[in-house]
Each structure stands twice: as C-alpha cells, then as structure tokens.
C-alpha cells in the first residue's frame, strides 16, 4: 500500500516561492495518485483568503493552483481554525478545506506516514 504524506503549508502566499513550492509537492503527489493531505497552518491560511489581488503585488495568482487540488485527487484539505481566526479570515476561497481545531492537529499528523512542513 502506498505511504501517505501530509504537507503542512505555513508560508503566506506572497512571502516568496514557499507557498507555491509546497503546493507543487501536493499537486505532484496527486498526479501520481498518492494519498496526500494538505494542512494550512499559521500564515499558510492566508493562501485561502478570498479576494486576493495577485497582480497588485506583481505576482502570479496561487488560487487557480489551489482550485485544481480536488481535480488532482487531493481531497484531504484542512486548515487550522485558530490560525484563520487569529488573522481575521472570514470566507475562504477553497470550499473543500475543512477547519480543524488546533488540538486535533496532532491526531491529523499521526494519521499520515510521512510529513513535510514548508
């Protein structure tokens, strides 16, 4: 059986290539049909903020890549509810992402064979 992998994405979308590069690992895993989970944590939840204007900061929009996740077979999508609340996020741009209370994150990590935090 294939080993499962959890990616914990902690970078804000416009702080450098970190967020995009974390997402690329997830999309590549999805393309290979591997069991992959993605957790947005800390500043990583900012990737899910609705109504971002990438062009205004001369960046490429990440949200198209995020929307592609379910199409790549990546359905285990989570975000830390505390991280989102602390940053005043209301409506999120990825409907499929499930909120997770901070105390449940340990159990989530335990469910996966391997973990990468970026």
């Amino acid at each position: 059986m294939a080993k499962s992998l959890l990616i914990i994405s902690r970078q804000s979308p416009w702080s450098g290539p970190g967020a995009r590069e974390a997402l690329d690992i997830v999309l590549a895993g999805g393309a290979f049909d591997l069991p992959i989970g993605l957790l947005f944590l800390d500043d990583g939840v900012l990737q899910l903020a609705a109504g971002q204007n990438a062009r205004a900061v001369q960046q490429k929009d990440l949200s198209a890549n995020l929307q592609a996740l379910p199409m790549f077979g990546v359905e285990e999508l989570f975000y830390c509810a505390e991280s989102a609340n602390a940053r005043g996020l209301g409506k999120l741009s990825l409907d499929e992402a499930q909120p997770l209370a901070a105390e449940h994150i340990t159990a989530l990590i335990d469910r996966y064979d391997q973990v990468i935090t970026l």
Binding site: A2, I25, A28, L34, Q114, T117, L118
Partner: protein, 130 residues
C-alpha cells in the same frame, strides 16, 4: 532503516549542516539512505558557484565529497533550481545561459523523485523547512 532526506535550506544555514551530519551518522550507524532530495533554497547546496571563506565549512564541497564517496543518489529539484539560477550544462544550453553551476554527482529531476523516495523509505527526515 531506510531513510529519505529532504533539505530545504541554503548551504549557509545551520539546518543544512545538520542534514549532512545526520546523513553521515545514519550511514555510520548501518542505515541506508535511499535518496537525498534538495528543494527550495536547498538547491544551493548543490551549486558549484558557492565560494566559502577559507576558515568556514564549505558545505557544497562536503556534500559533493560525501555523495561521491558513498555513491548516494543526490537529486536536485529542477524547477526550484532553475528559479534560483542553479543550472547544469543541459539546462544552461536549453535556456541559453553562460553559467553552469551544477554537475555530477548531482542530478536535476522532478518532484516525482521526492515522492518516489518517500514511498521507498521507512522514514522521511526533513531539514530547513518552515
């Protein structure tokens, strides 16, 4: 135990030194390293263009010697490397660049090599992530 090692930080970062020390200790302890995968700023560890002051640790040189001596699989993510100007001869030619900063034993390849290593290894050990 079979280890896969992923490195995400540049050659001058303390975590890159720890990654090399861990890799050396793993082999010394009788374990196997299925692959070293260099991603994000970790690609700078594979750069021939890094010049380290004489009284400091030359990590790119140490990685190269270690990988050559132990015949390890040192894979550098091609997309992350191109973005950061780490190119082998083939890519320099493809993108018409003068500078070649990566050569054997390093190999440029895709993220599939990371997933492949994750599947093969008992443990994935990451250094220099967020």
């Amino acid at each position: 135990m079979k280890f896969a090692i992923a490195l995400f930080s540049a050659a001058h970062a303390p975590s890159s030194r720890r990654a090399l020390l861990f890799a050396q200790a793993a082999l010394a302890g009788g374990h196997e390293i299925v692959r070293l995968f260099f991603y994000q700023d970790g690609v700078f560890n594979a750069s021939d263009a890094v010049v380290t002051p004489q009284d400091e640790q030359d990590l790119p040189k140490q990685w190269r010697a270690f990988i050559n001596e132990k015949q390890l699989d040192g894979v550098v993510c091609i997309a992350a490397a191109l973005r950061r100007g780490v190119l082998n001869e083939e890519e320099a030619k493809r993108y018409q660049r003068e500078a070649i900063s990566l050569s054997a034993p390093w190999e440029l390849s895709g993220l599939g090599q990371l997933h492949d290593a994750v599947q093969d290894a008992d443990r994935l050990i990451c250094f220099g992530g967020a």
